[in-house]
Amino acid sequence: MVGSPLMEEEEDMYLDLFLDPYTVQDAFPPAMSHLFSPRAPLDVYPLNLSNPEAVFSPHFGGVKETSSDFSSVDLSFLPDELAQDSKDQAVTGNRHETEQSRKTQDQQCQLQLPGGEDSGLSLNNGSSPGSHAHLYPGGAAFNQPSPEKSSSDSLPVASIVSMTPMNPVPECSGIVPQLQNVVSTANLACKLDLRKIALSAKNTEYNPKRFAAVIMRIREPRTTALLFSSGKVVCTGAKSEEESRLAARKYARVVQKLGFPVKFFNFKIQNMVGSCDVKFPIRLEILALTHRQFSSYEPELFPGLIYKMVRPQVVLLIFASGKVVLTGAKERSEIYEAFENMYPILESFKKT
């Protein structure tokens, strides 16, 4: 199974990340200075959430928890990260309670706010300190007992959620990127006679002068494969990792039926492409200015902004219409993580 061994090691990984000290940030867009910090893209999370309900997805299942470690800091004008080393011990206990969970980046600001109706998430730009006082009126909404929440600066930190590839749980954004393409490779471990394959199989193209591989297509799952004479196969067009694996096996079966002694070794996902829509327009020129080290925006060449995220190593194509394409990931979680890292940055452009 693709699922279970992967999940074991991932859970360990998540536990480590979980226990790392992670910063809780609260930044307001007008203070542009903090956006120029080297870790800017991952740290900044301006809180102009006009629509609190959309942020707290109900399917969290009461995961949120606030740390009791925060010193009382006035939240109203936080230029930079606050409470650098606030550990979320309480959240560890919380973790066991959650079935559904999702891994998060330690640098991400996870605003898991109580899903209560008047959660008091009136953390708009420049709001007065008074507004933070009613951040957690609905503490009882959770399974966890909320510790002393007198300090108004407690921003609940993310819960670590274990990955369930089938049912991804969106964090702050409520938007899940859809996988559009998965590229994988496999090794059939025997030399292939491309001419014979092109002759005996219906669904093939072979033009040795143009390209030294047979292009084969199958209908279910709808994919295309490149078969090389060395026995290596590249399978593209699948919509999920499992589909890609199934398709690669089908190609191997086709070649096997043609009389070659194939095996199926080293199946590896090389690239995954996802896309989604944030549904609001984005000022690309300002994004390019504020995130110079990562962005490349050349309207004369390409209408979108190319954002090269470092952690995870994913390239995002961001367009003015709000559509985002994520590529370069080797795992589904990397795509989700990259989008969750990006969404707060994009949200800061919502009201421009």
Partner: protein, 416 residues
């Protein structure tokens, strides 16, 4: 006389410095042989005879620098001179080229890429000094493809780790507008089309700013927007005479290429102006359309900030009070005060969302969310499914025969 230099013909050491029409020469006084002279002798010889030689042509530099690099460095200088760039730019561009040449990926690249690299270095230098130079301009100068240029440019920026600022729109407007040949009367340009440069520039700048604010510039090539804005500015400065002139005619008159997207940018800009006009009471009465709104561009630009806020909503409440508007308009148009008060009662047109045009168009096709298929990747693959992709032996024979026949037909020339 420098010792050791002798006339190559007769061997005498009697060499005289002479200058022939300001070209200094070294001449043998015995046989009259010209020992060194600008183009008649080689640099190597000149240096041997201790004549001064420019550094860039001297043989000393050539030892470290390969011939193709020398040629390309000369090209960089020439390009800078053609574009009339300040001399500091030249040095910066040369240094970028030299740095790029150190990288193995560039050094081993094809000649085409190296030629384009020359343009890339100049472009980066210009961008860093906020000198408005478009990629299209460089590509036409180099006779290069934009795709090749873009690939090389992105690679260069990545490899050298450069921070290239964005193209400065205001400067681009100024330099582009100045290239329009409409500021002086000439036989090809009727007097009613001639326009004052400063007025046109300032109005074009305002229109481009307006386009930027209303999402017409983000993600698009900047030049067509500027063309459309220049055209509107020119028309609005004397609408009675110029409304009949179309965008294509305008560009032809001005001796400027018309970029293809400029027409649609023009329509978008006019749509924005019409929306703004619907917020002004005295214009609402006139029931403007895309042609007549041009006459009122001056008014619209004067109040553009407020009108944009009123005409478009972006989530903020539409509670823009009319008081501001009343106050301003009262100052300006006393004559229309009476009608104004009456019309004030009517609600202005409901605000449209301020979105980029791509978001305003209806989606071409609905995007069905793909159902989560429960594929595990390890299912059984039935034989029949695989067999559908294979040819039977009979089919293979037929296919081979058909292939052979088509090959034969191809080799035989077509009968006339």
């Amino acid at each position: 006389m420098p010792s050791g230099s002798r006339c190559p013909d007769c061997g005498s050491s009697e060499l005289v410095e002479d200058s022939h029409y300001s070209q200094s020469q070294l001449v043998c006084s015995d046989c009259g042989c010209v020992v060194t002279e600008g183009t008649l002798t080689t640099t190597f010889n000149d240096e041997g005879n201790l004549r001064e030689v420019t550094y860039s042509r001297s043989t000393g530099e050539n030892e470290q620098v390969s011939r193709s690099q020398q040629r390309d460095l000369r090209r960089v200088r020439d390009l800078c001179r053609i574009l009339k760039l300040p001399t500091t730019f030249e040095d910066t561009a040369i240094s970028y080229y030299q740095r790029a040449y150190q990288l193995s990926g560039i050094r081993a690249a094809r000649l085409q890429k190296k030629e384009v690299l020359v343009g890339c270095c100049v472009l980066i230098t210009c961008r860093q000094h906020n000198w408005p130079l478009t990629m299209g301009a460089i590509c036409t100068l180099l006779y290069a493809d934009l795709d090749v240029f873009s690939g090389t440019y992105m690679q260069l920026v990545k490899l050298l780790g450069l921070d290239v600022p964005a193209l400065c729109l205001a400067d681009l407007v100024k330099s582009y507008c100045s290239s329009f040949r409409l500021f002086q009367a000439s036989p090809s340009i009727p007097a009613k089309y001639v326009e004052d440069k400063d007025k046109m520039l300032s109005r074009t700048l305002l229109l481009v700013e307006l386009a930027n604010e209303t999402w017409l510039v983000t993600g698009r090539h900047p030049l067509p927007v500027i063309t459309a804005a220049t055209f509107l500015a020119w028309q609005s400065l004397r609408p009675s005479a110029r409304l009949t002139c179309s965008l294509a005619q305008f560009c032809k008159l001005a001796n400027v290429d018309l970029p293809y997207p400029a027409a649609s940018r023009l329509q978008e800009l006019l749509a924005v102006l019409l929306r703004m006009a619907s917020q002004l009471a005295w214009l609402r009465v006139l029931k403007l359309d895309k042609r007549t709104v041009v006459k009122h561009i001056a008014d619209l630009l004067q109040h553009r900030h407020m009108l944009v806020r009123m005409a478009f909503r972006d989530g903020t409440a539409e509670g823009e009070t009319q008081k501001q508007q009343q106050g301003e308009q009262g100052q300006r148009e006393e004559a229309e005060d009476s009608t104004f008060d009456v019309l004030e009662r009517k609600r202005p047109a409901s605000p449209a969302p301020l979105l980029p045009p791509c978001m305003l168009k209806p989606p071409k096709r609905s995007h069905p969310t793909p159902s989560v298929s429960a594929v595990t990747g390890d299912e059984n693959i039935s034989d029949s499914e695989i067999e559908q992709y294979l040819r039977t032996p009979q089919e293979v024979r037929d296919f081979q025969r058909a292939q052979a026949a088509s090959q034969a037909a191809k080799s035989v020339p077509n009968p006339p």
